[in-house]
Every structure is written in structure tokens, then in C-alpha cells.
Amino acid sequence: MHEMSICESILSVIERQAAAQEFSRVRRVRLEIGPLAGVELQALRFSFDVVTRDSIAEGAALEIIDMPITAWCMPCARSVEVRQRYDACPRCGSHQVQITGGEELRIKDMEVD
């Protein structure tokens, strides 16, 4: 359900940018969303359409850039890719891994008129 409030935040950023950068229409929005951001993409797309109705972003295409989940493995002393929070290091099997990426929830850029 909080996909709706995330979309409201996105729209708020868009409207602020519209004022600062002087554009009147948004054609495309690109988001970077990590798998650990807790966002359901289908719900986000649905909410985006609802929230942007009657706004300068109405009808804008929503593009989502997949991000990997990265972690720092202490025994290996290197960055590895994992699939979920409690995964072991895929190289050495240790659980001494610290998540370093995958929680992103960012607006990367927009195509505007």
C-alpha cells in the first residue's frame, strides 16, 4: 500500500523540478529500485498512473532500472552479489556478509517537454 505514498513523493519531486527547471510535461521517468527497497513494482506502476492523473506527469512512461543486491564479504574481503538478505557469500559460504547495495529508491532522470 505504501507504493501510493512513494508515488506521491515522486510526483512531489517532479513538481518541484518542474518549477526549478521549467518544464510543463513529463514523458518518461526512470527510477532505480533495489530489490531490498520493499517496493512491489506492479503496485508501484498502478499507483503511479493513479497519482499522476491530472498532473504534469499524466501518461508518463515509468521505467524501472533493476539494481543488484551487493554485499561485502568479510572473509573474502570483496564485494559479492547475493539474492536476499540472509544469503551466505556465494564464494566462501560465510554468513559474515554485509549488504552494501540493493536498497536504492531513487529517481534517476526524466524526459520532459
Partner: protein
């Protein structure tokens, strides 16, 4: 939605007040595009009768005349940045009051309010206390808290599934607690509240033994975001097949730093450990601030 504070107004109530956007910001900065973009649409004032604030969703309209050529605009902005700003402001306000804030999170029905009232009864003669209660609807829980004599502000989130830092900041304006502890009872939901920093010192996740041992694996974000897990309703263990060790092991898989305490608000078993943790957390917080 207000462009300045970004809150979706309309269906949230804080302590009976419709949240009225009475902040002193000037909108001039946001209106350099200078077209008819009035804000009254966002500022519903549905209720204002005491200690409940109302937020909701105003439709967003923006009309900008102008450019027609498509171009790319780099944003590189964290979508949660605004919540993070409010959380930082709350944290500063709480630090100035030397007050420890704990964000209590759990599924609905885990016994958060029962545990909280039992905790307040035991602490209220030792420390100044206050409570912010988050629920979608009703102020039943705030009434249960106030029955203990501790001041409480109810925040009704309307359709929202979590408290955010902005709501908590406004609720805080109605509480005078100093040198004490603020308990924030979040909306019963193991998913969304994990993603919203309210400015608390610690998230405390409450899991009752009538739930599954594998809940930490099913809802890892919340157990990862918390510093303490309270395993509650332990008085019922004799009647259940709940595997305490497996549950704790699952939680630690998700969050190796997680501290775990077992207790029963009903029998009182384990309550002293929880109170000790609160006092220790409070001491840790004030140590850094006195110098």
C-alpha cells in the same frame, strides 16, 4: 500534496485535528513558474477536535505553460529523502528533550498495546513517558494508553499503512515529554513501517509466540531494520508447538546484531529485562549528549 512538506493530506488525523499544514513556509520558491497553481486543494481540514490529526490525498494538479521540446533532466534524488529530512528533525527535537524514542513494530494482534500498557504501568513512576499511537482508524488505543495516566496522541493514517516522520513530527508538537521515553506504536504491519525512519533511536519488533517461527524469514526487512526483538506471550508456550530456538535463529539469520528478549506482559515474566533494556538505551543516548 503540499510541494513543500510533501505530505499527502486528507485522511490522516493526529489527535483529532485534521492535519492542517499550518507550517510557516512560504510557497514563493515553488512558484517561480508563476501560473495558477493554488494550494488550497491540498489543504483539507476535515477534523480538528483535539488530539487526532487528519491527512489525505488531494488530487495533484499542475499546469505549466511552456516548452515543447523533449529533453532529459537528471534528478538523482532519493525518493525517501523528504522522510529522511523529517526524521532528522525529529531526532534533533528528541535529542534536545533528552528523550529516548522507540518505534514499536509488529503484525496486527501481536499484543503491542497490551505490552505497552504493562510497560507504562511499570515505568511511569520512574520516568516521564509519552506515547504516539498509529492506527488506520479509531482512537481506541490512545484511550487505552491514557487510562494508564500517560499522555498519548493518536495518529490515524487513513488509508496509510505506516507512520511517516512528518506525522510523528506533528504529533510530537502535542507532547511535552522531557528526560524520558517516547513510545511510538506503529500501525500493525510487518512490511511498510520497516522503510520509514521516524527519528527513533531504535526500532523494536514484537513477535508473539502465537505467530510462526519463520516470520523473520517471511518479513526479513522488519527484522533487519530492528535492534531488539521482543518475543511475547511466552505464558502460552506450554499450549503451543512454537520452537523458540528456531525462531531466534531465523531472526539472527536476517539480522546477526539483533538482541532478543522473551517476556509475557500477562504473567510479568521477562518484563524486568525489557525495562532494563529501555533504561540502558536511555543512558546510552544521554551519555553522548551531555558533553
Amino acid at each position: 500534496m503540499c510541494n513543500v512538506c510533501g505530505c499527502a493530506s486528507g485522511e490522516v488525523t493526529i489527535g483529532g485535528h485534521a492535519h492542517d499544514h499550518g507550517h510557516d513556509h512560504s510557497h514563493a520558491q515553488d512558484h517561480r513558474h508563476g501560473h495558477g497553481h493554488d494550494h488550497h486543494r491540498d489543504h483539507h481540514h476535515p477534523r480538528r477536535d483535539g488530539l487526532t490529526h487528519d491527512y489525505g490525498q488531494g488530487p495533484a494538479h499542475a499546469h505549466a505553460p511552456g516548452l515543447s521540446q523533449a529533453r532529459m533532466v537528471r534528478i538523482e534524488q532519493d525518493i525517501m529523502a523528504k522522510n529522511a529530512e523529517y526524521a532528522a528533525a525529529n531526532r534533533a527535537a528528541l535529542a534536545a528533550r533528552a528523550t529516548l524514542a522507540l518505534n514499536l513494530v509488529s503484525s496486527p494482534g501481536s499484543g503491542k498495546t497490551t505490552l505497552l500498557t504493562a510497560t507504562l504501568e511499570r515505568l511511569k513512576d520512574r520516568l516521564p513517558l509519552a506515547v504516539i499511537e498509529g492506527d488506520q482508524q479509531t482512537d481506541n488505543d490512545a484511550a487505552r494508553i491514557r487510562a494508564t495516566g500517560v499522555p498519548a496522541v493518536q495518529v490515524n493514517t487513513g488509508k496509510g499503512c505506516h507512520l511517516d516522520a512528518h506525522m510523528v513530527g506533528h504529533a510530537l508538537e502535542h507532547l511535552e515529554v522531557k528526560n524520558g521515553v517516547l513510545f511510538i506504536e506503529n500501525v500493525g504491519n510487518l512490511v511498510c513501517p520497516a522503510g520509514f525512519d521516524l527519528g527513533e533511536a531504535h526500532k523494536v519488533v514484537i513477535l508473539s509466540v502465537t505467530e510462526g517461527e519463520d516470520k523473520p524469514l517471511k518479513y526479513p526487512d522488519m527484522f533487519h531494520a530492528s535492534d531488539l526483538m521482543l518475543l511475547t506471550k511466552t505464558d502460552l508456550l506450554a499450549h503451543l508447538d512454537f520452537d523458540v530456538e528456531a525462531c531466534i535463529a531465523n531472526a539472527r539469520r536476517v539480522n546477526p546484531r539483533l538482541k532478543v528478549l522473551q517476556l509475557s506482559a500477562k504473567s510479568g515474566a521477562g518484563m524486568e529485562g525489557w525495562l532494563g533494556w529501555i533504561e540502558a538505551a536511555r543512558a546510552m543516548q544521554t551519555i553522548g549528549q551531555e558533553g
